[in-house]
């Protein structure tokens, strides 16, 4: 092998730069010399299945939703751990039982906290 084992990276970089630039240059030359650009208000309009677009695309989305997404995670993670816990329940040691209990209590505490703060009511 050569002294510069990473020289091919420079080659990749060169090709990665040259290839799109070549394509863009050909497209630019094509428009410049052969195909004149013909923009227009209807052509540039927002595509909406042929209908004229109405209203503003900058709609506001209530950021409160993220709290529900996080609260959903409580149940999601709980189910994920409860299922193998239930399957292996008879063979578990007392330490594992207490560990699982602490885990569920931690999650439940999060839910109780959110409930207490009134996050479960949609405002």
């Amino acid at each position: 092998m050569s002294d510069q084992p990473h020289a091919f990276l420079a080659l990749f970089l060169g090709v990665a730069l040259a290839f799109p630039l070549l394509m863009l240059a050909v497209a630019w030359l094509w428009v410049r010399f052969f195909q004149p650009a013909k923009p227009g208000p209807r052509k540039n309009a927002t595509y909406e299945c042929g209908l004229e677009s109405t209203g503003d695309s900058w709609i506001q989305f209530k950021a409160h939703y993220y709290l529900y997404a996080i609260l959903f995670l409580i149940f999601d993670v709980e189910v994920l751990f409860l299922l193998p816990f239930a399957v292996a329940f008879t063979g578990l040691s007392a330490g594992a039982l207490f560990a699982m209990l602490a885990f569920i209590l931690l999650l439940a505490e999060g839910l109780v906290w959110a409930w207490h703060r009134g996050h479960l009511e949609w405002k």
Binding site: F34, P36, K38, P41, R42, K43, A45, Y47, G50, L51
Partner: protein
């Protein structure tokens, strides 16, 4: 430069320059391929026509059949039905164009980038077909947008659509890059947008694009 192929059989590119088709065929057999950029351009474009995914009536079912394995429009490089006009080259007006739908069709045509082509598929898209006397059907899409290929039939079979496509391919291959016979999209002064009709009290306003369409006049004897 000849526009019609003279040698029998398939030649990848028709004659370029002063060399005859027979000489070119001879060269091709020896592994030398001669062409011009113009022919290469037309050859590439004609074999990668992307249609707009867009169906209006029963003809659309035949269009879908043409895309399936039995008829396989992919053999002609036109299998990539695009769901957006921004990526489409070909509008297949497949079916009855009602007056309610006509403005949307014209707007979609306007939103397609050039070069673009239009196939009027079936009797309805050509002339209104069996609904020509109806109050709510446009009597041919060529009243509002320029149609390149007309495919008659009610509905035309998928083979007919494929034949129309190959006819369009021949038309594209015959287009010139420069000069007075240059293709429509290469001429700087041709319109790229066509007026979208409005819903009037009884008909579309205007009922047709006067630059594109003049109603045939029936000469009457006095």
């Amino acid at each position: 430069m000849s526009d019609t192929p003279t040698t029998p059989g398939y030649t990848p590119f028709p004659a370029a320059g002063n060399i005859s088709d027979a000489e070119r065929e001879d060269l091709r057999r020896h592994g030398i391929l001669l062409t011009s950029l113009e022919e290469l351009y037309g050859w590439g474009r004609s074999n990668s026509i992307w249609p707009l995914q867009f169906g209006l009536a029963c003809c659309a079912i035949e269009m879908i059949a043409a895309a399936t394995a039995r008829f396989d429009i992919a053999r002609f490089g036109a299998e990539i039905f695009r769901p957006s006009p921004r990526q489409a080259d070909l509008m297949i007006v497949s079916g009855t164009v009602t007056k309610k739908m006509a403005p949307q069709v014209v707007r979609l045509w306007n939103q397609m980038p050039e070069p673009k082509y239009c196939i009027a598929m079936g009797a309805c898209a050509i002339s209104g077909g069996p609904f020509k006397q109806g109050y709510n059907v446009l009597k041919g899409i060529d009243r509002f947008i320029p149609v390149d290929i007309y495919i008659p039939g009610c509905p035309p079979r998928p083979e007919a659509l494929l034949h129309g496509l190959t006819q369009l391919q021949e038309k594209i291959r015959a287009e010139r890059v420069s000069g007075p016979q240059a293709a429509r999209h290469l001429q700087p002064d041709t319109a790229s947008e066509f007026p979208v009709p409005d819903y009037g009290a009884h008909d579309l306003q205007p009922p047709s694009n006067p630059k594109l369409f003049t109603a045939p006049v029936l000469p009457r004897k006095a």
